[in-house]
């Protein structure tokens, strides 16, 4: 295989890295806390993809006992990411709860405005 073919074969990693860097950028660059949580979600999604893409076997089926199939995808990364998704939902709910509390206390969810209000006191 030429270098180009090797590079094109790994396109799932480019998508993963793009999503990861985009999520990280949103977390750092945006002041709005809801947008920060969206960025965090994007970051998590890239991690799911990093694990799921190598676990998938082309032509493979679910790891179910069946005489018609012989090639199975590896279920371990799928189960691992199922747990990660559940944990992600829980942490997102906790983050949103914190944002709701901050909004009630400060009247805003923008980071710069919150810092400005803290300085005033």
């Amino acid at each position: 295989m030429t270098g180009w073919e090797v590079a094109a074969d790994h396109y799932n990693y480019y998508v993963t890295i793009f999503l990861m860097v985009a999520g990280l950028y949103i977390v750092i660059a945006r002041g709005n806390m809801i947008k920060k949580l969206v960025g965090l979600g994007l970051f998590q999604t890239s991690v799911y993809l990093l694990y799921l893409a190598p676990g998938r076997i082309i032509g493979g089926t679910a790891p179910i006992y069946d005489k018609n199939y012989e090639v199975y995808s590896n279920p371990l990364p799928h189960v691992l990411m199922l747990t990660a998704i559940v944990v992600g939902v829980a942490t997102l709910a906790v983050g949103l709860a914190l944002v709701v509390r901050i909004s009630e206390e400060y009247g805003t969810i923008d980071e710069d405005e919150i810092f400005a209000k803290d300085e005033d006191q």
Binding site: T61, A62, I64, Y65, D66, V86, A97, V100, E104
Partner: protein, 140 residues
């Protein structure tokens, strides 16, 4: 949004299909992508859509908070109880799904389906509980 005609009619058209799609994803779960987690979220999404368009009070009339709070542990109990029939009938040990049918494959399919039913109940009620907790704040 309570008086928006297009949203109200559109939601009423969508709801039955969303609620039918959830069991489809559920029963499809052992061979294809799907299962209890996704189906539970789809069921919860139908109720959340209803709550967003028709108001939280209307949603709480069909899915009251007390029922949701009780369904949370019921799902976990179904999940755990799926393993018990083997012990009760004395045919095997905990989580031996062989008692659900005469054929090994069918018995295990039933076992997975019952476990997934527990997952569906817990996930759907958890999503709704989280939604109610957020939507309820500052209303009193």
């Amino acid at each position: 949004m309570k008086f928006d005609l297009i949203l109200r009619v559109g939601t009423k058209l969508m709801l039955p299909f969303i609620l039918i799609f959830a069991p489809y994803v559920h029963f499809h779960g052992d061979y294809g992508p799907g299962g209890g987690f996704q189906a539970g979220v789809i069921i919860a999404a139908a109720f959340i859509l209803y709550a967003m368009v028709f108001g939280l009070d209307a949603a709480k009339r069909i899915a009251p908070q007390s029922v949701i709070d009780r369904l949370l542990p019921v799902g976990v109990l179904i999940f755990a109880a799926a393993g018990l029939p083997a012990i009760v009938s004395g045919q095997g040990r905990f989580l031996d799904f062989g008692v659900y049918g005469h054929d090994f494959l069918h018995a295990h399919e039933w076992g997975i389906l019952i476990v997934e039913t527990g997952v569906i109940v817990t996930v759907a009620s958890t999503m709704l509980a989280i939604f109610y907790a957020f939507a309820d704040r500052g209303r009193q």
